[in-house]
Symmetry: D2
Subunit: 471 residues, 4 copies
């Protein structure tokens, strides 16, 4: 489904490299392959061994770094970040990596994917001790904790600081002479390491490795701190309280189909979810279609298992960008629609299975069902390749509050009626777990299913706020 | 396949409307749905019954008309145009519609899809009589012919001028009080008319009708001149020498899958081409994949007929725009690739059928085969859902010269070796004709197959030049 | 006085050079020194002997040619143009030089300072013969006349065309191999030639020569056509009906103080006008102040002759540009004023002589008198270093219509009351003629005084329109 | 003289207002009138009583706040800042006002004109205690001192912080509910207060009051802290160790001619300096000319006293902006010069007195003398309306190091020879003191003359660095 229609957004993607003469360029290409994880802003910080140099801006990576600007970033190592589009707030200051210069103790750059659930509490305490915050980002909290830790050794300062933050985080932390990589004790966000000749690379998704020509090594482990410098790579543990709980929405919706997470290819996982969905809720129909782009794989799986032909029943306009002009209400009522089109020649007179990956508020599903009916579909059967999302996420996904989540307040039959479908079925939680088929033990197979089940892998602080409420 | 990689580009798309208070807005949305036909520039001219107002610019429609600029275009009727990206040349002046103001005989706006094969000859003659040309576009020739025709009646002046130009054209011609629509006697380019309440709309592709909420009426006929004004619509003939020869590349590659041409849906035609291709050149393999976006339909058809699973083996990066930063040669050799990725999790260790719609120069095919092999494909079998392109196009498609067309100089086996595939097969000309299945009589079923067969439906002038050589 | 406040604007400045390897760069610097003559747009066309290359845009020269764009203009010769800011209209198309390419007879570039009084008549006739005009500029008329002249020899074609246009013009006409320079038979606009090593330069004002390091040779003569090419320079006459009538506003207001016109330095002329003004209308006062920038010289002259100290009583804000934000009406009434400030420390309690160069509508004068009074001036005596402007200009100065010219409808005493001055005096026509002191015979000493006297040196066509009404 | 040529720049201008519904707009106009004090960047922060809202950017005020952006700043009070153009460094982060938001103790905005001489020492100490600095600006030091002071009462926290910083400062400090205004104990920078109806205004120069229609009340006193809120204005002292030492360069060069400092009008002061200079170093000559813009007043005074006519011998091009294209070295040698022109018609064959306000490195003076000679001046006598600058400034003026100051290393006769003048004279220190004529007791009459005499009014810390070395 279309992120911009759904209000289901992740906070970021991160990429880092140590030991390559074209560090900034490679980071740029890496970020470019992670662009689907955030389009609001992008930044890169490099080190040449003696000083950190940063560049960041609002917009796509190609806008921020185009026109030769990338050439101003030299050095043998770099970290980069892409940030997702919040409704308002944020702005330039919050674009990462955050870069902190100091006349006293060296500089520090931070890039963060995830969300800290105790950021408000820690920030309040630090401010009462005289700290000044420049951003509204939870990421800055870690920088202050590092600076105030009292440890002279940077690694110890970082470890100390990490023990004080809770929630979801994949952190890249760079000084003039080191790149540190940390994943939270639940491993809620994906993060992998690879090699590229003599250089080490780290990225939110493995698709970045393929794009830059790096070789995937392994996923970073929960509670692991990697220290990379000119002498090589070292792995340490900063937490012993480990409990893998990888976000299942990464498989369902966020990650690129060509990425692997814990060894499972995302496209393959989605196709399997589509097959499980077909098994759980088969239906007689003439065509199967997926909502582009993220539901295509599940739709192919559904079609393959049922033998119903897979068709391009919905077309996404490739030229819908941020400067796009929305039709007025009057024109919308007249039928002007810009982002998605139903293919009349495919659906007219047909019983259509429309496969989508998830339903958040339900408004988009209703619109797509209407599109298909206007194009002549005789029946529209909606099949969702994940369970109902009934609980908000506190780990970096900008879903919504309980009030906005349609499945938090309505039965499946009510939702079916609201979106105007002839039938509606969601995948079961068991189907989800089995469909992805992660190589982990336990009931959840090391996945976070909190948005479906309400069982959160970490403590949730009383006043935890969603990212989009903070700015 | 990716237009930008292939050097196979069409000149334009046109859209017009008469009789709607939001004429400019609707034209904008219409052009937006035709954006795939041209990304270099866009323009709209409106009439309020008394004067023409124009706006145009380089870039995408959303860039040209964003930020409220569209509001400056009022009136009850409009014509618009999207122009494709030439290597250099052209620039602002050549962006259409061309608008000619006159203190003497009213204003004139022209939008043109196609290419005139005798433009050079006519232009030379007009200049020798003192005419001054402002653009390097062949379209301007028609304006001069209209102005110099001596006919006081605009309709007669237009008819007279049309008899003097040869080649491919879908023309929208607007004055303060009329919209004229003309299609060349061979009907080489698609052009359809529809209604939207009391308003008439005309567009290069029917997908534009769905997007703006209009109802498709019929395709414009070869040699037909439509005159639309406040009193209604009138059809006349300006040529009796009619011989339908619709460009077959519109089905194969250019048009949007949700458009219909002469009643045939484009996605369905492509899927059928994929099926015919499977019949003609079946192969044992593990997965079928298509080169996004234009070859997806053919790949689905190929998979459906053979029973080999269809997979997302290749992923296109959605964020590759015009400001995109190309990797340096050194980085390219290191494996940095930005536009297209092979999905390792899908192709590793597999025998892959890679379906593409056409091969022009062969360089892109070679690159994609390499991508798949680097991602671990055991075998790569290339299947092309059209015959070899062995002849240049003179009707508005910027293919290449004979020298550049790989199929003009090499056998299929030679091409296979050059692109590094394990096997290669093209669709036959008969398979193409039958696969599309146009409802016309005759050997070609009213299609232009010149680029495959070398049999051009019009005279070709000695010094006809390709569009990309003119600027 | 401030051009933007007064609505007294000239159409342009022109610069040309033949025979220098850095032709475009030098033209840029020349245009930069003529920027006061027009800020709406700028353009340069170069020739390398084989083809013309053009670049133009809206805005200041530094905006149009900045960021390395100038490097795209190579060649040994160039012509350039700066265009003044019209209220609306015009736009990109009308920015000069106009460049006409032809497949038949070579290309042609035109840059024009002045205004043709029979442009409407000639244009109408050309359109009735089938010509198409691309701009609303009167300049394009000459291009069509040249192309239609039937002469194969370009020089004869230009001469022939020049005999058909009437009014004020300094034309630079460039082909691949020649630069032609023409001045109207009345020599209404200034135009000078100089040398720069082996190169020839031509400019609207001599200040451009000083800036580029060229040596002034002489002023172009009325009715003269200069042909400059690789073999040298040749002077011919295209009209025998010569009657020098140089625009006196060039001395009074438009030209830069460091320019010379017909051998008279502009600053010196203005200072002399100030002295004559002092003789004609002396007054008892404490300080003399001029309205920056154009009235400073006259104020210095007034002070020098009377012995009253010259002071900076009015300060112009140097940072008022086009993007400047105007105060709202409410804030204006509260006293917010941005462009001009009165210096309280200088005028408080004083009897102030405020010297200005002209009054057009009177609104600005009233504002400045108010400014001075609010800053504490005891008396404000306004002295104008030119006679009352009672008639519109048809030769390229965008004054106003009769209705808007305050002196066209009111006596000096009425104007004094309207602007709130304690006394008001204008310079006499005789004082103007003597003050400038041109080295010409006759009553007007070869000056155009039409805006003061209503005696126009050329025929005025019935429907002549002012430049700002045309767009 | 031209700031950009001379390398003599001040750090900033500040403006504040409390109690006006259009606070942001008025601050914008105030900053616009202070634009000469800094063109690198500008910012405004407003309060509506409950929260602070900020906007800032690189460029001129009109660029930063244009296009309706100002409307986003609502509230009854505002502070603003303009920042001067440093060679490189600084950038967006350093643009002021600095805005510090806190979830704990309210927000804080700071605008600063001046330079703290112990910033490095204090910053080092704060960082060693865990503070993180976001800017390289000395201004941020004060924010950290306030936050760490331990005082709950903001006024006490500010007073406490002010006692810890040394050097030159005019501070505007705004919270949600108060505007605090502080001037250093030496009063090195100008700062005045005024009223505008019920609102209070504060500005670096009084010209801002005239522009916004405010009434000047008095200058802020050294060591004074003003607290302005909805209940009115209160004055307190934060230091008892007061010793007025107003920067004399404010009179000589920086401030606008229409500003008053300690009751002395700047234009009048400059004119008097010109007269004293004439008395001290009279010379036989034909014309007097000033280097625009800042030396015009002194030149007028020189001319008035000597009776030698004042002329516009040098013209500054008004269109030299930041995007201006510099001539290449080759073209410069050919004589292309863009910023300043000598008026041949005025200086040719004349003995010229060229009055300038100061000499820093001498390079500009040499260029101007050359300009005058190339324009035909027979003799060039340089007269400087201030004493030789032999010592660097540590209080916010970006002069230069000792090494760069020509007068630090050379005698007057040596300088004369280096700049190529026929004669050269500087004003004496006594002439400077008497010429300005400040209403203060004591040898220096409450002026800082350190750059002339080397006697600094404050302690100078060992590692004090010049502002332009910090970034």
């Amino acid at each position: 489904m279309l992120a911009e229609l759904k209000g289901l957004n992740e906070e970021c993607g991160v990429f880092g490299i140590w030991g390559h003469p074209d560090a900034a360029q490679i980071t740029y290409y890496g970020l470019h392959s992670l662009q689907h994880r955030g389009q609001e802003g992008a930044g890169i910080v490099t080190t040449d061994g003696e000083k950190l140099t940063g560049m960041k801006g609002l917009g796509l990576t190609s806008e921020v770094f185009g026109n030769g600007k990338l050439n101003d970033l030299s050095g043998k190592a770099a970290i980069g970040h892409v940030r997702y589009a919040t409704a308002g707030g944020g702005g330039y200051e919050n674009v990462q990596p955050l870069l902190f210069k100091s006349s006293h103790s060296g500089s520090l750059a931070l890039a963060h994917n995830g969300n800290l659930v105790n950021a408000t509490q820690v920030k309040h305490q630090l401010e009462s001790q005289g700290s000044i915050f420049q951003t509204t980002s939870d990421t800055e909290v870690l920088a202050h904790l590092i600076r105030r830790s009292g440890h002279i050794d940077m690694k110890e300062a970082v470890k100390n600081a990490l023990t004080m933050v809770k929630g979801a985080y994949a952190f890249l932390i760079m000084t003039e002479t080191e790149l540190m990589v940390a994943l939270d004790p639940n491993g809620l966000r994906p993060l992998s390491i690879g090699v590229m000749g003599d250089a080490y690379v780290v990225a939110s998704e493995t698709c970045a490795f393929d794009v830059v020509g790096a070789k995937y090594e392994r996923d970073v482990q929960p509670g692991e701190l990697l220290i990379i410098n000119d002498e090589g790579i070292r792995s340490e543990r900063f937490s012993m309280n480990i409990n893998r709980a990888m976000c299942s929405m990464e498989y369902i919706y966020f990650s690129r189909p060509d990425s692997d997470i814990d060894g499972i290819n995302v496209h393959t996982a989605r196709k399997n979810l589509g097959k499980r969905l077909a098994v759980e809720s088969e239906i007689e129909a003439d065509v199967v279609t997926g909502v582009p782009d993220s539901s295509i794989s599940a739709a192919i799986g559904f079609a393959e298992l049922t033998g119903i032909p897979y068709e391009l029943g919905l077309i996404k306009n490739r030229y819908v960008g941020r400067t796009f002009i929305q039709p007025s209400q009057a024109l919308r009522e007249q039928g002007v629609k810009m982002k998605l089109s139903a293919v009349r020649g495919v659906v007219e007179g047909k019983r259509v299975v429309m496969v989508d990956d998830s339903i958040v508020r339900g408004t988009t599903s209703r619109r797509i069902v209407t599109l298909l009916r206007e194009a002549g579909a005789k029946e529209v059967h909606v099949r969702i390749s994940s369970p109902p999302i009934a609980n908000p996420c506190f780990y970096g996904i900008d879903t919504s509050t309980h009030e906005e989540l349609i499945a938090s307040n309505h039965s499946v039959e009510e939702i079916r009626e609201m979106i105007g479908a002839d039938s509606l079925a969601f995948l079961s939680v068991e189907g989800l777990i089995e469909g992805i088929g992660r190589p982990y033990e336990g009931e959840t197979k090391g996945q976070c299913l909190a948005c479906f089940t309400g069982r959160y892998p970490t403590e949730i602080y009383q006043d935890t706020v969603l990212p989009h409420e903070k700015a």
